[in-house]
């Protein structure tokens, strides 16, 4: 496999797993908690490395999962004490954990593979260099196996608990009432978010993980109202943006992680503008159509209220409208046979026009 293809495949797998768990984060309005987790997992990774000197993905995932859960627990504990509101609680917890992580990282000797650059930019460009070897065989890129396994576990998690996740995302009270524990599901989801974040962390760095968690799902939200479609679109956008991001990075010679975030931003803006149901253009078109319909109906109502045929040329004076506007309203109404125009230039409601009152 060529290096470029390897990077794209690994990127797509990372994007897909983040898009998958991110859907539930966005639906549950936990986007900022995702932000917090993606920062604080750094501490978990660093501590595991510090304590064991190993970069084993399993140990890292466990360490980061633990710190992720700690973040969520600390935020909800601080909120629970009523000392500060949620936004400030998040803003207190993750900078602290992240700051400790960065301080420790910057104290590592420089030949160690974890450094501040890796935290920011990720190491997806170097992914093809690390091989996975077992029983003396080279089984391909290590990241391919790690990320692939994570994606498989995420898919399994969502598939097995789909009903629980769905119900608790929309109605926590109902979830409790039918005997499931919304809190347990919440922490489970957070554990999976944390673990996925670690795997993504290796590829795109701590700070840009949050782009992969939030943006695909938010983009999907603009395109569909169905949960299953939302998840599918989110996974697709996560994977596709990673591939597009790789090409952007090659084109302008910059960080792949930064380019992936940029590609995600472009995807979101595109959906924001052009989504057929909720895009700005669709909203604008809908509003101007409603306006036109309203003007048409107003003219019809006006003519109906007069009970006598109304002269075409007096109509725009009656409304203080421009001639264009009036003509368009009349044409719209005539197209629907709501009014008719006789030979003398008088407008009337069909079926009443033959008996002038005078």
């Amino acid at each position: 496999m060529s290096a470029a293809l390897t990077i794209m495949i690994v990127g797509a797998l990372v994007g897909a797993s983040c898009g998958l768990v991110g859907s539930f984060l966005v639906l549950r309005r936990l986007a900022l908690l995702g932000d917090a987790i993606s920062h604080s997992v750094l501490l978990g990774i660093v501590l595991v490395f510090w304590a064991t000197g190993s970069r084993s993905p399993i140990l890292m995932a466990i360490g980061a999962g633990a710190v992720g859960i700690l973040t969520v627990a600390l935020v909800s504990w601080i909120q629970h004490t009523g000392i500060v509101k949620e936004d400030a609680a998040i803003g207190l917890v993750f900078p602290f954990l992240f700051a400790i992580g960065v301080v420790i990282v910057s104290r590592f000797p420089s030949q160690v593979h974890i450094d501040v650059d890796a935290v920011l930019y990720g190491e997806i460009a170097y992914v093809p260099l690390y091989r996975f070897e077992a029983f003396g065989w080279d089984l391909g890129t290590q990241a391919f196996w790690t990320v692939g396994t994570m994606l498989a576990i995420d898919i399994l998690f969502v598939a097995l608990l789909f009903k629980e996740l769905k119900v608790s995302s929309f109605d926590a009270g109902f979830t409790a009432a039918i005997g499931m524990s919304p809190i347990l599901i919440h922490y489970l989801l957070m554990a999976f978010v944390s673990a996925t974040t670690v795997v993504a962390f290796d590829a795109v760095g701590a700070i840009l993980v949050v782009a992969l968690l939030i943006v695909p799902a938010a983009t999907a939200q603009l395109l569909t109202q169905r949960l299953s479609h939302l998840i599918a679109i989110s996974v697709f956008i996560g994977a596709a943006s990673s591939i597009v991001g790789y090409w952007i990075a090659r084109l302008i010679d910059g960080s792949i992680a930064g380019a992936i975030a940029t590609a995600l931003g472009l995807a979101f803006i595109t959906a924001f503008m052009f989504s057929p149901s909720q895009g700005l253009i669709a909203q604008f078109a809908r509003r101007s159509r409603q306006r036109r319909d309203f003007i048409r109906d107003l003219v019809v109502a006006h003519i109906a209220a007069k009970q006598t045929p109304v002269a075409l040329n007096t109509l725009s004076e009656d409304f203080h409208w421009s001639a264009d506007m009036t003509n368009r309203a009349i044409n719209d109404a005539r197209k629907l046979d709501r009014v008719e125009l006789d030979g003398r230039g008088y407008l009337s409601i069909p079926g009443t026009s033959s008996q002038p009152n005078s």
Binding site: D87, I90, G91, S106, R107, Y121, V210, I214, F268
Partner: protein, 314 residues
């Protein structure tokens, strides 16, 4: 023999250290004072978006003009920071996307775009000579005397505005509807406050960095809130905590080797928060536990008393 060498060392060390101390002092004071309002108004994370969204502007300013002076770089940062805030408001206004998601989208995408530009600059410029990466986690040692002048002017303006508009800011923080009813024009006040916060965030990018700047807006204010019930003393205390974190963090990072300033300042500020949350009288966790215990004991005593009067209570 040793004395001149020590002396020489002391002098050069002192000049940098003096700038670092003064700069982080001003920054800590300002973010403590202004952060009090943004925490009370529950808008603390907007500063996070603003700071992250400034990164692409800093890089663009460098790419377009080749300048390295902080004023121009931060003007670029200011521009994209404001664009970021505008985009965030547009997203939550014009789509179903929730405000907190919009915040996360703008924050991460703008920052990612900034990283893309930054790496592009580093690759084309020989070996990161631009030094732009100092804006990510901050580097207090790069504060120059001219930066101090700019910071001092911004600080003087912001503090006078806070003093002059204290009544308006106070009402705005606690009851914007009442402010409107009293003709205090909360819209105008909140725009002025936003402008001041934008100023302090830009000021902080060099020292604390874009990633952790938000913490300096939140932590001192939250810590100060624990110790007092009055807004004016909260602001004074928050400014003091901010100064303390700024100075201790920045000085410790300039003493150590390869220690970015932002994380150090944030660590100090967070320790102050932890102490305040635990130990503050009245609102602190420890005193709450103590109170709960006292109440339980009193309750037990009361129950026994009632029992002695002959009532059947259990």
């Amino acid at each position: 023999m040793i004395a001149p060498a020590l002396l020489g060392f002391d002098i050069s060390w002192d000049a940098t250290l003096r700038n670092v101390i003064l700069g982080s002092l001003i920054l800590g004071l300002m973010s403590g004072v202004l952060g009090s309002f943004s925490v009370l108004r529950r808008q603390s994370l907007i500063g996070d978006t603003l700071a992250h969204a400034a990164l692409p502007g800093i890089c663009l300013a460098f790419m377009l003009s080749g300048t390295r002076t902080n004023e121009w770089l931060l003007t670029g940062g200011l521009a994209t920071g404001l664009v970021g805030i505008f985009v965030m408001m547009a997203i939550s206004r014009w789509s179903q996307v929730k405000p907190e998601t919009a915040l996360g989208i703008v924050l991460s995408v703008f920052f990612g775009f900034g990283i893309l530009l930054l790496t592009r600059i580093q690759h084309s410029n020989d070996a990161g000579q631009s030094g732009l990466d100092r804006f990510i986690f901050g580097q207090a040692a790069t504060i120059l005397p001219r930066d101090l002048v700019v910071m001092g002017i911004i600080a003087a303006i912001s503090l006078s505005v806070v003093v002059l508009l204290f009544k308006e800011l106070k009402v705005l923080s606690f009851d914007p509807d009442f402010a409107a009813a009293q003709g205090l024009r909360p819209g105008v006040t909140s725009s002025i406050l936003a402008a001041l916060i934008v100023g302090v965030v830009m000021m902080g990018l060099q020292t604390v960095g874009v990633v952790l700047m938000v913490s300096l807006l939140i932590a001192p204010a939250v810590a100060a809130r624990q110790w007092t019930r009055s807004l004016s003393s909260m602001i004074v205390l928050s400014g003091a905590f901010g100064m303390l974190s700024g100075v201790l963090g920045a000085v410790s990072s300039s003493l150590g080797d390869r220690l970015p300033t932002g994380p150090m300042i944030v660590s100090v500020a967070s320790v102050i928060v932890i102490i305040s949350i635990l130990a503050a009288p009245d609102r602190g966790i420890l005193s709450r536990i103590q109170r709960r215990r006292d109440r339980a004991r009193r309750m037990r005593d009361d129950l026994i008393q009632i029992d002695h009067q002959g009532r059947v209570i259990w």
